[in-house]
Amino acid sequence: MTATETKTGTSKAGTKVMTLLEAITDALRHEMKQDDRVLVFGEDVGKKGGVFGATLGLQDEFGEQRCFDSPLSECGIIGTGIGMALYGMRPVAEIQFLDFIYPAFDQIVSEAAKMRYRSGGEYTCPMVIRSPYGGGIRGGHYHSQSSEAYFCHTPGLKVVIPSTPADAKGLLIASIRDEDPVMFLEPKALYRHAKGEVPLGEHVVPLGKARIARDGTDVTILCYGAMVPVCLAAAETAAQAGRSIEVIDLRTLVPLDEATVLESVKKTGRCVIVYEAPKTCGYGAELSAIVGERCIEYLEGPIVRVAGFDTPFPYTLEHLYMPDQKRVLAGIEKTFVW
């Protein structure tokens, strides 16, 4: 936990140490309590409480009308969610793994994302699509992918990825209250590993604001989600070698907090971008492009991307696929070599 986190949002009721997963449940419960338009649904979210347990207890507390299991169809989860949103509800749909969202891709890209625009603002789609993404749990080919770039490239969608329990709660609440569709991607590797103080009760972290997870002066690392702790650890190691690393946790990929990013890179003159998705055309490509286009005159070394390889996600070799501290450190060093 850094000071930055506990400063955001407001809380009258103190804090509690939670895992990222517990913080998400807490956010859902909080919103379901204060707004009866909020509906939570998806595969296995009811009695089972979701395969990771994010919705545990919600059906008992709010009843089957507010928290319910859907048939095995992501197309239906998102498509009916859009219908609910059109009718005035605040659907929060769970997709069991981000790898399984593609049967719903048409509904997301052609419908949810475009509803407001194509109807001239007559119809809107305020819904949240929650889904665990990323590697780190030995989930192999189909339980590990990071496809945030698809959604970031789709005008009309906001894309949010928390990395701390407090942010998970505050950003999820902000997403549920947002008037537009939000892809809320949860770093499953951190579900139980990220622990920290979370404000009880009301706690909102506004979308579109990055978080400086660590101050530094020599190199800026841009990262999000499960890569944040990896980068923080690398920054710590680098510090021992005398490098002062600034780590920016983007929190919201769309809309991006460009101001914070550019300010930091202009200050440090060096930039490493870390993401676990396949490198080519990943979100880090956009970050690299923005930095290259807007800060070139401030750069004192090449921009470096540390990313997943351009292969499908492996199973037994996952540890080599996922960017780790070592690769981030190598990336940092590369920014010092033309």
């Binding site: 609910m84 509800m89 809309p255």
Partner: protein
């Protein structure tokens, strides 16, 4: 039985005993007016496309009974999740010709701000949800809206449309399945006009009918003569009542025919037999209903003349109003992506404005589909 076909008005304009839904006389005449006005609207749309005044049009000729009979079974507060071939519903729900034609033109009078091709209407004032091109998606939205209404305890009913081609879509399966499981108050109307552009029904599905597909979702499936407005109304009214009672969704298959080409870009003669067209021409839904009204002494030449004249006058006036409306300004390009402009969109809007202030911006764009 899901494969039987309900007809009420026979070829001579007579109704089978006990089947006439017994609508009041003025309502019957109103329905007739709507059918005629819909066809005239359609003819005008195609004509304007041919004259180069609009970029695209898509007709519903021959399907007036099918969609008007269905939507007429709804209450005003009920919602529609239409496909793109139900323009009569706009007239039924009192959308002005001005607004309709403004949508074709995509001008400042267009409720959807020129964002979509002609005939992709959105009219919130009429609970007529924004139409999209991707086939079938609206079926699942209707199921979701129905689920929401049930959760809220509202007695709203939702009617949604697709074509025979639409039954092959992912969302046909999904929308009907979700509605079936949740007993959502939805009436699914499949307008089976025999063709999906150039693909005939027999290449679309091997099922005996579209209605029988309802069995896969545990809901009733009814097959009705789509060129018989009373039959369509009757079947849909039962389905609407059923939904409102909380007894769940229904699939209605209206058997009809696409008399025109698929759209202004298509030429059906390339793939369709003229004899098929001739056979269906004899079953014209407007002529059929006219005969019925005549039988019941609700139609004569004077009435006809008045109906046509009124519709034409309204059309002419609406087209004139619409064509006089201003174009949309370039800044509108960036609105409605989100509720509020993001910093990125503000910057892009600014960039375009600066470029335009220097003049000469604008790509060449051709015609649809080429």
């Amino acid at each position: 039985m899901s494969n039987d076909l309900l007809t009420i008005i026979d070829q001579d304009g007579k109704t089978q005993k006990g089947k006439d839904p017994g609508l009041p006389k003025d309502e019957l005449q109103r329905l007739y007016r709507l059918m005629v006005a819909t066809r005239l609207l359609d003819e005008r749309g195609l004509a304007m496309q041919r004259q180069g005044r609009i970029g695209f049009y898509l007709q519903s000729t021959g399907q007036e009974a099918s969609h008007l009979g269905a939507a007429y079974a709804l209450a005003d507060r009920d919602w529609l999740f239409p496909a793109y071939r139900q323009p009569g519903i706009l007239l039924l729900r009192d959308i002005s010709i001005d607004k309709i034609v403004s949508e074709w033109l995509g001008n400042s009078g267009d409720t959807s701000k020129g964002r979509q091709m002609p005939v992709h209407y959105s009219f919130r004032e009429a609970n007529f949800v924004s139409i999209s091109s991707p086939i079938g998606t609206q079926l699942t939205h209707a199921a979701g809206a129905g689920m929401a209404a049930r959760i809220r305890g509202d007695d709203t009913v939702f009617m949604t449309f697709c074509g025979d081609g639409g039954t092959s879509s992912n969302d046909f399966h999904t929308g009907l399945n979700f509605a079936g499981v949740t007993k959502a108050p939805v009436v699914f109307v499949c307008e089976n006009n025999g063709w999906a552009i150039s693909v005939p029904q027999c290449k679309q599905t091997a099922s005996e009918s579209m209605a029988i597909k309802a069995q896969a979702y545990g809901m009733p499936g009814v097959r009705v003569d789509g060129n018989d407005i009373l039959a369509v109304y009757r079947v849909c009214k039962e389905a609407v009542d059923r939904a409102r009672r909380g007894d769940g969704p229904t699939l209605v298959e209206t058997v009809t025919y696409r008399m025109a080409s698929h759209s202004s870009s298509d030429d059906a003669a390339r793939y369709r037999d003229a004899t098929e067209y001739e056979a269906w021409k004899k079953k014209d839904p407007i002529a059929r209903f006219q005969l019925y009204l005549k039988q019941r002494k609700l139609w004569d030449e004077t009435f006809e003349a008045e109906v046509v004249e009124t519709a034409k006058a309204k059309l002419a006036e609406g087209v004139k109003l619409a064509e006089a409306r201003a174009n949309l300004g370039p800044e509108s390009l960036f609105d409605d992506v989100f509720m509020n402009l993001t910093p990125q969109l503000k910057a892009q809007r600014q960039e375009l404005a600066e470029l335009m202030s220097k003049g000469g911006v604008g790509a060449d764009v051709g015609h649809f589909p080429l």
